[in-house]
Amino acid sequence: MLEVTNLKVHFTTRQGTGRAVDGVSFHLERGETLGLVGESGCGKSITALSIIGLHPRPASKVVCGEIELDGESILTLSKREMRKVRGERISMILQDPLTSLNPVLTIGKQVGEPLRLHRNMDKSASRIRVIELLRQLHIPEPESKLDDHPHQFSGGMRQRVVGAIALAADPDLLIADEPTTALDVTIQAAFLAHLRAVQRARGLAILFITHDFSIIAKMCDRVAVMYAGKIVETGPTAELLSSPQHPYTQALLESVPSVDRGRKRLHSIGGSPPSIYDLPKGCTFEPRCSYAMDRCRESYPLQFDIADDHSVSCWLLE
């Protein structure tokens, strides 16, 4: 359904060229959830934003690659056509529910907007649909909340409102960029359960961006691990989490604590990720990798398929 091929998004600033996204390829099918994991600055959010054409401009630019939605390129669409895609087929939930709602508009207006603009509903029809949407996301007494403003809602409720807006026009693809990071654990668990229920009911495809492996394990069918603008490993969730092959994935998994792990000492990755303005010539992880070899310094590794749908970019697997 969504096919991203060799996508490169570069920033041009006084510091030179920043390779924020540097050759990313992945695909996503209907009803499937793909997790995109990585540390901040690895390019996961820019990848997501460039899919809906909202990467910062003119600072950044898609310099090469292809993004296809149902076999049709969306990079060449006009602004007007792109707006239609964003309204009807792809929607997005951002991390911070406090800033993604308009503080001066009522909840009813904001949730109803995509319905009026993209589904040609009139006021009364959209009102009924909005109440239904809010009820599906477990907002108590939705009828009485339509004329409330965002500040009257708690963080967890606001994120559910953001979810209702994203799902209002019944999109095919939802991009969720750290949608639960700002929420408390219990509210987070509830939000994820709602999202899963909606996905099952409608066959929604979800691109889930997060740095939290416990969420990946719960939500995603497949995972892609990003490092310095590139996907270094991708595979089915269970397989990738139980037998990670790329040294970065291994190190990352060994460095996160979990409630089931106890006090067993964590392995920490020394150093920090490279600057996107000054990437190493060879493998981008080489300076921090404990298995680095001479050839890692010379050229970026090819992608090796080690199993069905499980591929790794590392010379160790040649």
Binding site: A190, F191, H211, I215, S258, I269
Partner: protein
Amino acid sequence: MSHPDPIIGVRDLKKHFPIGGGTLLPGKERKFVRAVDGVTLNLHARETLSLVGESGSGKTTTARMILRLITPTSGRVVFEGEDVAELRGTKLRHFRASVQAVFQDPWSSLNPRKRAESIIAEPIVINQPLPKAELKGRVEELLAAVGLGPAVMRHYPHEFSGGMRQRIAVARALALNPSVIILDEPVSALDVSIRAQIMNLLRDLQESFHISYLLIAHDLATVRYLSDRVAVMYLGRLVEAAPSEELFENPLHPYTQALIAGSRSTTMVDEEAARLLASEIPSPVNPPSGCAFYARCPVSTAARSDDPIFYERTVTERPELIEVRPGHLVACHQFDPKD
């Protein structure tokens, strides 16, 4: 709780913040947010005690009262056997030096106009002045303890990454050889791979300097990795406290169970549990008269039809914190022996 003398003892601590105005109008009652509503805790030598709970549960307010940054409405904080509120002069300075803090955001907790050297040296300059040469040596020593070289001394905070800044904040907290460090969400602003570095550093420092930590965190995985004991707060009160291992293996309070289930990678809550949990946390201005958690609690909700007498109790009667096993306390009607 087998140790006789805690370093810090918190006794029935309360903080009620007044809200709104209107006290001048006769007959109008002043309203209060019961941010902390009767917390009792002990922090022992060399242990890590974690306070966990969702935003608004009162954990940071409790920490700030312990640090004597805000005055409790009632209750006491006892440090080395003395009431912190009564400390004056040398004793107060000794308390200030002994109880240090590291905060969440290393971007706002370091003065951007000062070099790392003066940031770390400041507590020493104020509290235990040293000759210049010795001071520099001491700063180098502190930097080495947190894994940084002497070269960073000349640099300003903006030149450092988040992880390095947090190391500098830890070095500053160590400067006066404290016996207690309060860690308020010390790693939650850091990136995944950096978190492990800082958590390991905190554990190593505890080992070598024999410090007690009071850790405030909402991420249970972090809590599990760092703590010896855990206390769970909900709406200003403790709902459960136990040795870490015991709490994670055998949580008793339904709220603790929900928190742990939410943090596990293997459990997905079902729709019904999700709907319950998604209901709002009650207001700390008018907390429910019974158990503060009853409206979100699966046990209470199930009892509504199956066991109306039990349900009635959860709605009307506040559960007491009871020791159900040595060191394991829980405030839940299910475990109240009065039944």
